[in-house]
């Protein structure tokens, strides 16, 4: 068992080996399904010069916004960063480098990274600024651009339930980028709401098999909501 027991005892242990100038890939969409305690731990560690790959960059005082605030991010690779005033300030002042990637291309680049596919062709972005400098090739009369895979030194994900083996189940749209991100890290760290005993998860219902997960830690989550929208009861 021990060889497959992915549990670690502390956030320090979960992120051991994460140092300056590394590339980290982080799951989540907006603030939904983000590994919020791992991110907060990186802010406490103070590592700098990070390249961060994530669909968004949190908000000013939560999620990846914490790392921006402490100027720990050198380059951000994301599809949408409109929720964050610090981001805009650092971008305009030249402190922060940004690569904007179409959301589906970002997901597929991460998926490809984890699946050993170095690059792939997609029609997304052809004829737009995204295509600049990229190889174009026609298949069946349609033009596609070549996009490269993404891998990271660390991949940080958030799950709902996991067993000791690191088999993970996600909940609703908190799944988002997490399964792809899980596959693309040299070291993948999963933070979950609940760690259950071996045998408690149905093998038929695992979303991320434990083979992708190196370290596992249970957290308590604020789960902040970005746009609370309701209808009258």
């Amino acid at each position: 068992m021990a060889g497959f027991d992915k549990r670690v005892n502390s956030l320090e242990e979960a992120l051991q080996g994460l140092t300056d100038n590394m590339t980290i890939i982080v799951g989540g969409f907006g603030l939904c399904g983000i590994p919020e305690n791992l991110i907060a731990q990186i802010a406490r560690m103070g590592v700098k010069g990070l390249t961060v790959v994530s669909n968004n960059c949190g908000v000013d005082d939560f999620g990846l916004g914490l790392l921006l605030h402490k100027r720990q991010i050198k380059k951000m690779i994301a599809s949408y960063v409109g929720e964050n005033a610090t981001f805009e300030r650092q971008l305009l002042s030249g402190e922060l480098e940004v690569e904007l990637v179409p959301q589906g291309t970002l997901a597929e680049r991460i998926r490809a990274g984890g699946a050993g596919i170095p690059a792939f062709y997609t029609a997304t972005g052809y004829g737009t600024p995204v295509a600049e400098g990229k190889e174009v090739r026609a298949f069946c009369g349609r033009n596609y651009i070549l996009e490269r895979a993404i891998t990271g030194d660390f991949a940080l994900i958030k799950g709902w339930k996991a067993d000791w083996y690191g088999n993970i189940v996600y909940r609703y749209t908190a799944r988002n980028f997490n399964p792809a991100v899980a596959t693309a890290g040299r070291i993948t760290v999963a933070e979950v709401e609940e760690i259950v005993e071996p045998g408690q998860l149905d093998p038929n219902e695992i979303h991320t098999p434990g083979i992708y997960v190196d370290r596992l830690i249970q957290g308590t989550f604020e789960k902040r909501i970005e746009r609370r929208t309701t209808r009258p009861s």
Binding site: P102, G104, T128, Y172, T173, R175, R228, T230
Partner: protein, 217 residues
């Protein structure tokens, strides 16, 4: 009279067909969900990983793990399915979405779409718009025809593109138009809007058929 946002959503909703899987963009397209014609069933796709978006939750139903692509809290309807981002975009790129309704800053007679970036202003990112533009087989653009008298239906888009040659139908606050053979073809006009007004506010080449009926909402 130019259509209100709600009326535009109402007209756009008439494009829905029973059994359609539909992706709605941010803004006016989102309102289309409020006007699904009676007697038909459609499933709304949210690119962050849900097909079968339900109504907004009541205060008691709010769940931080259940949001739409605009980051609003939502519910999942009966028949819904949850999936990952890479699978969500495989659905989009693979042409599995029956109808995509998107907003735009500009469109042109070649079907080019500009909707994500205004140079000189803060660039927030394209999100999923470029994937939708490239992957959708059936796109309806819903947009304002002219802003401050300046036409947004052009011979050639002036802003950086979201997608090339991807738009075949446009609904504006003044008209419903097809794009074909390098021109806008006027199909319907908003109630009380004259062909003259549409003509004066359309910079791109415009074909006006003999009969241009008033829009039914």
């Amino acid at each position: 009279m130019a259509l209100t946002r709600e009326q535009m959503a109402q007209r756009a909703a008439r494009e829905l067909r029973d059994g359609d899987y539909v992706n709605l963009g941010i803004g006016i397209p989102t309102l289309v969900a409020n006007y699904v014609p009676p007697g038909i069933d459609v499933m709304f796709h949210s690119e962050n990983g849900l097909i079968g978006v339900g109504p907004f939750p009541t205060e008691d139903e709010i769940d931080a793990d259940l949001i739409n692509a605009g980051k609003q809290t939502i519910t999942a309807r009966v028949g819904a399915a949850v999936f990952s981002s890479e699978e969500s975009f495989a659905m989009i790129r693979g042409g599995h979405i029956d109808l995509t309704i998107l907003g735009a800053f500009e469109v042109d007679i070649e079907g080019n779409l500009a909707s994500w970036m205004i140079p000189g202003k803060m660039v927030k990112g394209m999100g999923g718009a470029m994937d939708l533009a490239a992957g959708a087989t059936n796109i309806l653009v819903v947009m304002t025809h002219a802003i401050d008298g300046k036409s947004k239906l052009l011979n050639r888009c002036t802003l950086p593109l979201t997608g090339r040659g991807c738009v075949r139908r446009v609904l504006t606050d003044l008209a419903y138009l097809d794009i074909a053979d390098g021109a806008f073809i006027l199909r319907e006009r908003a109630p009380g809007v004259s062909i003259e007004e549409i003509k004066s506010k359309t910079e791109g080449r415009l074909i006006i058929p003999d009969s241009v009926p008033e829009m039914q909402l």
